[in-house]
């Protein structure tokens, strides 16, 4: 991202929200840049929707301020904010047809009829609903309803579009297709999108950056690759994608590599760590390895830099593009491994109870310090 882009287009400063004793959002601080497609990712009840509703103006923060484009909007009612929202339920007015739904925001602003007609046409074109303009919401499919909701929220050209689980109600195929449509539209209009989702795949494909949220706090904010490859906490590592986590204690530490003894894994694990992580010998750490970073082979691998362990095949599953394996180590610990099915073959790569070797490179292992 180049320098002249406004980095704190949305500025959330120390925002908290309490409902009685329950702390929904706990002292959150965040800056979102202009034109970003930012996702807030978390399980249900983590406070992500509350945060979004505070940006929209449906909830007032217990503490903290929210600024949009340099203007403090914390005390503004929803109808005075330069923000529009796409609801999870889509909230399409059932008593108005597609056209009237989309025009509603402009009507409320007192825009001239000719102007409204023109902009509604543009929007209908953008979301490809031109043929459905006179339909009432009951006569639309889920995907069409989603597009009506999107068009209705975009027509006022808000500075920020808030999307609450925008794709959750669609089936898988449609969801994938719509993801790319959303990204195209965002790119075309240059409006800043803030998406709330519980679906990590959705967050990964859509976003320029992701904030992972749990118990009202942000655990990590970063681009999808950072979140996936460099999780800073056990929760993030576990929540985003699948991962094998081994607890252990540091036996050797240098600038770049550490060696960890994990009771679960028979061999000592060597791992490359970021220079900014400070670890001492004897310290308890976690080592996390993604299933696709682990190699599986029948013969003992040559590479002696990395980790090599023996196990037997406990179970496996064929997914088409890749296969998942569950490997049981001698001490009973299960390790998940995935392997791309590069070769076209109906023959199985391994059978149940086959003896196999697992190996991974030191740079593939993530070092996690701390408990959360």
């Amino acid at each position: 991202m180049s320098e002249e882009i406004q980095k704190d287009f949305i500025r959330i400063r120390n925002v908290s929200k309490h409902f009685g004793d329950f702390v929904a959002v706990d002292n959150v601080d965040l800056a979102i840049g202009r034109g970003e497609l930012f996702s807030i990712l978390g399980a249900s009840g983590c406070g992500k929707s509350t945060l979004l509703r505070m940006m929209a103006g449906f909830e007032t923060p217990t503490a903290g301020t929210i600024e949009i484009d340099g203007v403090d909007v914390t005390a503004l009612p929803p109808y005075e904010r330069p923000v529009n929202m796409m609801f999870q339920s889509y909230a399409i007015f059932p008593h108005m047809n597609v056209e009237k739904n989309i025009a509603y925001g402009l009507r409320k602003d007192g825009v001239a009829n000719s102007e409204i007609a023109k902009r509604v046409d543009d929007m209908l074109g953008l979301v490809q609903l031109g043929d459905f303009r006179k339909r009432i919401p009951d006569q639309l499919s889920g995907g069409q309803r989603q597009r009506v909701a999107l068009a209705r929220a975009l027509i006022k050209e808000p500075k920020v579009l808030l999307l609450d689980e925008p794709l959750a109600a669609l089936d898988k195929k449609l969801r994938e297709q719509t993801q790319f449509e959303l990204m195209n539209i965002q790119d075309q209009l240059g409006i800043t999108f803030v998406v709330v989702t519980h679906d990590q795949e959705e967050a990964m494909t859509l976003s320029t950056r992701i904030a992972v949220m749990d118990k009202g706090r942000f655990l990590q904010v970063g681009d999808p690759k950072e979140i996936y490859e460099y999780p800073q906490s056990r929760f993030v590592a576990d929540f985003v994608g699948t991962i094998n986590i081994f607890e252990g204690s540091v036996t050797e530490a240098s600038d770049k590599t550490i060696t960890v003894n994990c009771p679960d894994v028979t061999a000592p694990i060597r791992a490359l760590h970021d220079a900014d992580i400070d670890v001492d010998v004897g310290q308890a750490v976690c080592i996390a390895v993604r299933p696709e970073k682990i190699f599986i082979s029948h013969e003992q691998p040559e590479d002696d830099e990395g980790v090599r362990v023996r196990g037997v095949v406990d179970d496996f599953g064929y997914l088409g593009n890749l296969s998942l394996y569950r490997i049981r180590l001698e001490n009973g610990r299960m390790i998940q491994v995935s392997r791309q099915n590069r070769r076209r073959s109906v023959k199985r790569f391994v059978e149940w109870e086959d003896e196999v070797w697992l190996s991974w490179r030191p740079r593939s292992a993530v070092v996690i310090v701390g408990d959360d």
């Binding site: 929209a56 449906f58 929803p78 529009n84 929202m85 609801f87 509603y104 925001g105």
Partner: protein, 288 residues
């Protein structure tokens, strides 16, 4: 299959026995002449087997202005009570629909609770409240707001209050049913798109509550139109409503044919708004 037919047949049978048959009898009586006999009207077929019917009773309703005025009074009174019920009932239904689920059932119970006491007793209770020496006058005098009791009883006002009080639950319940089902996101969506709270109400809540409003209005208007007990107990000589006229024609004047024609016209008057509203509903659906 057979059971299905039986269950479908039951409501039709009910309508036949308790509505269509009595209606036919009333219609037959309304076309007869009054006589001092048992029964007090002429038979539909004379001794020779010829048809003997007359429209005299209906013509009489047209010639005597009293009836037209009474019908009009009743329509106005029922409309006024309906409007006040709507005005009071809408915020109440809205409040109940938005209350926490536990309090919601309690509030609904409170709305229905008066039905546990006989309707007649409740109207009598209003006599105790509205009396010259009743609770309301006593309180007003004690507060020093008035020094003479206000004449509430035996006025149109008392009838109006009585009708509103008695039929309010019939307004609240259907309104509650529609408001409770409404998706709250819709109101937030309207506000998000630039509508103030008031605008969001008129743009979203009100049109979506229309089915409940219509049902509630019909449920209040129809029984209020023909109400007999409330005008009889709370109203004075000025509150001549059609229910009272009907009663008097039947039991005081013993003019069954005239009373029957009064009833038939009342029924027609009630059918008109229902048909009108249904037409309106169908038309609105077409437009959208």
């Amino acid at each position: 299959m057979r059971w299905q037919r039986v269950t479908v047949a039951i409501p039709y049978l009910w309508l036949l026995v308790f509505f269509l048959l009595p209606f036919a009898i009333i219609l037959k009586i309304s076309l007869a002449d009054p006589v001092i006999a048992q029964p007090p009207f002429t038979p539909t077929f004379d001794a020779q087997g010829g048809l003997s019917v007359t429209l005299d009773n209906f013509l009489f309703l047209l010639t005597d202005k009293l009836y037209a005025i009474t019908y009009l009074n009743s329509v106005l009174m029922a409309l006024a009570a309906m409007l006040l019920c709507l005005l009071l009932g809408f915020p109440m239904a809205y409040g109940i629909a938005r209350a926490a689920p536990q309090t919601r059932s309690l509030l609904l119970l409170l709305i229905v609770l008066p039905f546990w006491i006989s309707f007649l007793l409740r109207v009598y209770a209003w006599m105790g409240l509205l009396n010259n020496y009743g609770v309301i006058n006593n309180v007003l005098m004690w507060l020093g707001l008035i020094d003479q009791p206000i004449q509430f009883m035996y006025t149109n006002f008392a009838v109006f209050i009585g009708l509103t009080y008695s039929y309010l639950p019939f307004m609240i319940l259907p309104l509650y049913a529609t408001l409770e089902r409404m998706d709250l996101d819709l109101i937030e969506a309207a506000q998000d798109l630039g509508a103030s709270r008031t605008q969001a109400f008129w743009d979203v809540t009100w049109p979506l509550a229309r089915a409940g409003v219509i049902a509630g209005c019909l449920l209040v208007f129809i029984p209020a139109m023909g109400e007999y007990v409330i005008p009889y107990l709370l109203g004075g000589p000025e509150s001549m409503l059609i229910g009272r006229v009907l009663f008097d024609e039947f039991f005081v004047n013993r003019d069954w044919p005239l009373a029957s024609s009064v009833a038939i016209v009342l029924l027609l008057l009630l059918v008109v708004p229902i048909v009108f509203m249904q037409r309106n509903e169908a038309k609105l659906e077409e437009v959208e």
